[in-house]
């Protein structure tokens, strides 16, 4: 069994893990929506850029990206000397690519009749996206966004390599201090599940409830 004091020690990593995950999720959200919309309505050149971004971001292992920012780019962009920021930015930029895909699928599921009806009222395409398409797409996207947050919570553990004091790092410290190999990692694993499962599950159910209410597919 883990002692209470060891457990409390481990718990200190939880807020850091959650901040990295949620901040990178927010960054990914801010990047993902415009990219998804650009891929729907922008001229071809911009679409190619957006598509390229997605391909590149999905192709790089996130750990390599973190190391690149923190140890490579930090020489030119000093802000990346901060390992927390490097972690958030690397995870966030990659998440932008994934979230863009989630939103693109969701936007496509909303149906052309909605865009046509909005245009018939005299809305511009941008207004139609803002008021009609995106609010519905967001609901359809909720389960996908839930999985994405879960992924970020797990992948935030890579930040341990940069020296961020997250849950993984604390469990590693505890392993060294107690010479117990199983308990610290096992406890950390359980804590990860306790973070990922409720969030993903909640967004999934919230999405289903709204879908039923609005009769969305």
């Amino acid at each position: 069994m883990i002692t209470l004091s060891d457990f409390l020690f481990l718990l200190q990593g939880v807020p850091v893990t959650l901040s990295i995950s949620l901040l990178s999720f927010a960054l990914g959200f801010i990047i993902g929506i415009p990219i998804a919309v650009v891929r729907q309505i922008a001229p071809l050149e911009l679409t190619v850029v957006a598509e390229g971004y997605e391909k590149v971001m999905r192709g790089i292992p996130v750990l390599v990206f973190m190391l690149f920012l923190h140890f490579g780019l930090a020489g030119i962009v000093p802000i990346f000397k901060d390992s927390f920021i490097s972690s958030v930015v690397a995870l966030g930029l990659r998440s932008g690519a994934y979230q863009s895909q989630i939103f693109r699928g969701a936007i496509n599921s909303v149906g052309r009749d909605q865009m046509r009806a909005a245009i018939s009222l005299g809305m511009t395409r941008t207004q139609a996206f803002r008021h009609i398409i995106l609010p519905q797409a967001f609901i359809v996207a909720l389960p996908g966004l839930g999985s994405e947050i879960a992924l970020l919570i797990k992948d935030s553990s890579y930040s341990f390599v940069l020296g961020v004091l997250d849950l993984t790092k604390y469990s590693d410290i505890l392993r060294k201090a107690t010479k117990s190999f199983i308990i610290p990692y096992l406890t950390a694993a359980i804590l990860y599940i306790l973070m990922t499962f409720p969030i993903a599950n909640y967004l999934d159910r919230w999405g289903s409830r709204l879908k039923t209410k609005y009769g969305l597919r």
């Binding site: 009749d113 009806a117 009222l121 005299g122 809305m123 009609i132 519905q136 039923t212 609005y214």
Partner: protein
């Protein structure tokens, strides 16, 4: 001469190699109701979408209140705001209540304040007898109610013309009546309407003119009695005899 609201000249529309509209001349004046009938696939919906500025023509001109829409520097969105559209499939915004469906165009396109838009929207919902359903979402409304909200959504914008694309084609018979009744009330109030429908009772009662479309052209047009009773082309005769279930 009366005011022509919407007109077209030599209107053509092709999708790839498929020529759907083959050179159409048409006009409708303020206060008129015109009904388009014709076989499925003849181009009726395409005609409404093109003349309603939802799709550009391949060739020919569209005039809104005398102005050539595509060669002048008119703001297309502002013209679209003046042309109301009711679609075959109820296309209400599914994340908005009936009231908000009617309000959204007023606020976003016409820039009305929240209070103004609410008042106008409620007033319009009353016209389609749905004020009690204002706070329901589309998924909670019957098909007929959804179509009436759709009419209110278009009507609230104070359009100069309303276009209907088979608004009752996907409805059960009782629901058809409630929608048709609302449309008749609009015709009595001299709302300008261009309606694709096969509700012949409606056409007989309110249409100033019936146009028969076949294969991307109007083959025949005239007052209801003439077109329905005494069609001059064999295609129209055949279509009408099947539509009216005659011998």
């Amino acid at each position: 001469m009366a005011d022509v609201v919407l007109a077209c000249e030599g209107l053509k529309k092709a999708y790839g190699d498929l020529m759907v509209l083959k050179g159409i001349n048409f006009k409708i004046e303020k206060g008129q109701t015109k009904v388009i009938i014709g076989p499925s696939g003849s181009g009726k919906s395409t005609f409404l979408r093109v003349i309603g500025l939802l799709e550009p023509p391949t060739d020919g001109k569209v005039f809104f209140e005398g102005q050539d829409v595509y060669s002048s520097d008119m703001d297309l969105n502002m013209v679209r705001a003046k042309i109301g559209f009711v679609f075959q499939e109820p296309s209400l915004f599914r994340h908005l209540t009936a009231l908000d469906n009617v309000k959204i165009g007023l606020k976003v396109v016409l820039g009305m304040s929240e209070e103004e838009a609410t008042e106008k929207a409620m007033e319009t919902l009353r016209l389609v007898h749905l004020e009690e359903w204002a706070h329901h979402y589309p998924a909670q409304l019957s098909g007929g109610q959804q179509q009436r909200v759709g009419i209110a959504r278009a009507l609230a914008m104070d359009p100069d013309i309303l276009l209907f694309d088979e608004p009752t084609a996907s409805l059960d018979i009782e629901l058809t009546w409630e929608v048709i009744d609302v449309m008749k009330e609009l015709a009595e109030r001299e709302v300008t309407m261009l309606v694709v429908t096969h509700e012949i009772g409606f056409a007989k009662e309110v249409a100033d003119e019936i146009l028969f479309m076949d294969d991307g052209k109007f083959l025949e047009w005239g007052p209801p009695e003439k077109v329905l009773r005494n069609p001059s082309t064999p295609r129209a005769r055949e279509f009408l005899s099947r539509l009216l279930g005659g011998v």
